[in-house]
Symmetry: C2
Subunit: 443 residues, 2 copies
């Protein structure tokens, strides 16, 4: 028997339906915020993928040669492809607000929380250098998470320029800041002592390391931490730029209605090399130990690296598998409301043609409708419909049908009644809610 | 500047929106027919992919080894993964009606019509050996195509068992039928003379080839061709089974309302090796030369080959790029109706906070809403909104806002009027139609 490849998995229908429910809602929120879809291939050239992807990640890219020895790889995130498109399509009106939802691939040590093929839902704003864009990508992420039922959040924010200033204050070796950021970024994974070891290996002195670890400990509400920072980075021009940018993000976060979730976290560095300013991670409130469910930051230099004009950009990425696993742990996936589904059951094989007719009628009216294809007995059909979670069964009987009527059975209550066929859609409609209709759903 | 890898392409927002419109509608029709989503990874083991994928296709699979020398490939179609899941999940209730929509990869000679990364939308019924299932997958495909605006179709149908009988009648070499089917399948691509050459190479005599090419010429309405076939395959038990199965499909096609499109085409063989009975291809009526836009067939032995129980199965696959390209050629993509999108324009940078407030209000009400992020002048904002195809602009002016009012501008007519902010959603709603609400859309 064949299994899915290590680090990948299958989603059986019940699970996949929940997954699609989550993906549809996130996408709908992206669209409500004016983000537009952009399609880029999963296969990208190796030459492009390796640009600034960072040492840690370059080892994780699925790399191979095609039959004409072309060096290829599978995308490991969405941002590089976005930058490639922006760089080569200068005709695109700015700002470009684009979303992308789909699989990415990384050769990692697989675990329940970490797959080798996993989905990211990204929203990015290209062309806006101001903090309003960073606040908006945070707002769209939080509203997406709210729309799938999460209620409380922690948005941890830092700025690479503040981190630079702190390295300076701690007298850390210049020119190795990317490596230091990567070491600091592992603090939740490997602990303070682990980070200390890594920093030692990078050639920092014990005193510098102690000082840095002390500095980055600070985490809390923006109103408090930003005031402290004012004193701390007073002597650092780059640090002040970072500080002012965080202040602006915080200001806009109030206008977008997400300020209550904001936290400054000076230990936050993010693994990717390309960030130039603010970086952020979103956690479910009360579930911070679970790890972040979304993250992102600003990458103002990346599009130029891909051959484009210098173009500011910022974005956020939602980790779909992590979100689903968390929702599962929180018991949120059990009671999702789907649109009602109808099962058409002929009372005997002879009624099959009439049952097809009824099913086609309901399908044309937009109802999710299945019917017996196996000439099963009515009892077996009802068992099947129950097991598969249908809301309604329409029983098509011979005598009833001759009078233009069918029996409608509510599977939840077991109640049955005879209804006129022409009125059947009307009977089903009040209870049916299209799972894809989000008008007035964002409450 | 980096380009997409040869045989792949990008979809800019306007094109991607149309693409999603098509994908959403097809998916909705799949769901209306009771098909359920199943998720399987793009990465599959090479061992699994090469099972019965057929010589021609095995060369087209993207094959590589991961960092632990595991032999992998990218899926080249959806069916193998479906069979893997069915074989290893015997607990799944039958019948399983599953759909899958997403990219597949084949290393082919790329052209506008043939990409190396392309999307297939599949609907399959597992567990039903009767022709009602074949008719239903044809019906769901045709209704999916109708739902995206196509109006007329040709469904060409044949049966491998009839082809077997014809090979017998023509005295073709036994045991090479798969290779002969593959040769015959190329008739549209390489013409009758090309097929003749291939058949010669397979060791058939001139007389046999002439006879076979004469036999498979027959194509027409089922009522006519099925009668002819009755005489032709009268002496072949396997041919008669095939013939009776086609009769059944035709009978059910009437109940599903797709009989007017049915055609029997004795030259239809389909490239994939695994078909065991009926095979079919769907063409847009009047555009048969364009090539098929969907195809499929029955594969009753495949799940057993994957280690499962002997389980009948049939399915159809829609070629998304081909469908989109055809719609483009037919001029159908220009006038798609999307839900209306709203642009919020502050009259001056000072009104930005109020503009954010208005945008957030509309987003919560479910409207696709964008706003100025670049402090552009009102004129420039209107230009941008026009260029990006927004239906409405809400102008947030200082004096008006003080009275709780905004200006609503219809971008189609240029009309403007002052409305109360609390009534703004009501003004937008009658014109807005959620592009994802398909209730009562299947007409």
């Amino acid at each position: 028997m064949f299994q899915p490849v290590k680090g990948t998995r299958d989603y059986l229908p019940d699970e996949m339906r929940r997954r699609n429910w989550v993906l549809d809602r996130i996408r709908r929120v992206f669209e409500c915020y004016g983000f537009e879809p952009l399609g880029t291939p999963a296969l990208e050239s190796w030459e492009m993928l390796k640009i600034k992807s960072g040492e840690d990640i370059i080892d994780q890219i699925y790399y191979f040669k095609d039959k004409s020895e072309r060096e290829l790889g599978l995308r490991f995130e969405w941002t590089a492809s976005l930058c490639r498109v922006v760089a080569s399509h200068r005709e695109l009106p700015m700002p470009l607000k684009r979303y992308a939802i789909g699989p990415v691939w990384r050769y990692e040590h697989p675990s329940e929380k970490r797959l080798r093929e996993f989905w990211q839902a990204d929203a990015d704003i290209v062309g806006v250098g101001e903090a309003i864009a960073d606040a908006e990508v945070l707002a769209v992420a939080v509203d997406g998470l709210k729309q799938i039922g999460l209620k409380d959040f922690k948005i941890r924010v830092n700025d690479r320029r503040i981190l630079e200033a702190l390295l300076n204050i701690a007298d850390m070796p210049l020119g190795r800041s990317l490596e230091i950021f990567r070491a600091v970024d592992k603090i939740q994974k490997i602990g303070v002592e682990g980070v200390r070891e890594e920093l030692k290996r990078l050639g920092s002195s014990e005193a510098s390391i102690n000082r840095l670890l002390e500095l980055i400990k600070r985490r809390g509400r923006p109103d408090e931490v930003l005031v402290d920072l004012e004193r701390l980075v007073a002597g650092s021009p780059v640090g002040l730029i970072g500080l002012n940018f965080l202040k602006e993000i915080y200001k806009y976060s109030k206008l977008f209605g997400i300020d209550e979730y904001m936290q400054i976290d000076l230990s936050l560095a993010r693994g990717l090399d390309y960030y130039t300013g603010p970086v952020f991670e979103i956690y479910a409130g009360g579930f911070e130990d679970y790890g972040s469910i979304a993250g992102g930051g600003r990458y103002d230099d990346l599009i130029k690296l891909f051959g484009g004009d210098q173009t500011p950009a910022t974005g956020v990425s939602l980790g779909i598998e992590r979100i689903l696993l968390l929702m599962e742990e929180m018991g949120m996936l059990r009671n999702l409301e789907f649109g009602s589904r109808v099962y058409v059951a002929p009372s005997s094989p002879r009624m099959r043609p009439k049952a097809i007719e009824v099913a086609q009628l309901l399908r044309k009216e937009g109802f999710e409708t299945d019917m017996d294809l196996m000439n099963r007995s009515l009892t077996k059909q009802l068992e099947h419909a129950d097991r598969k979670g249908f809301s309604w069964v329409v029983i098509v009987g011979e005598r009833e049908m001759a009078e233009g009527r069918v029996t409608l059975r509510c599977m939840r209550t077991g109640e049955q009644r005879s209804v006129e066929l022409v009125e059947l859609p009307g009977h089903l409609r009040p209870h049916s809610s299209s799972s894809l209709n989000f008008n007035s759903a964002m409450v």
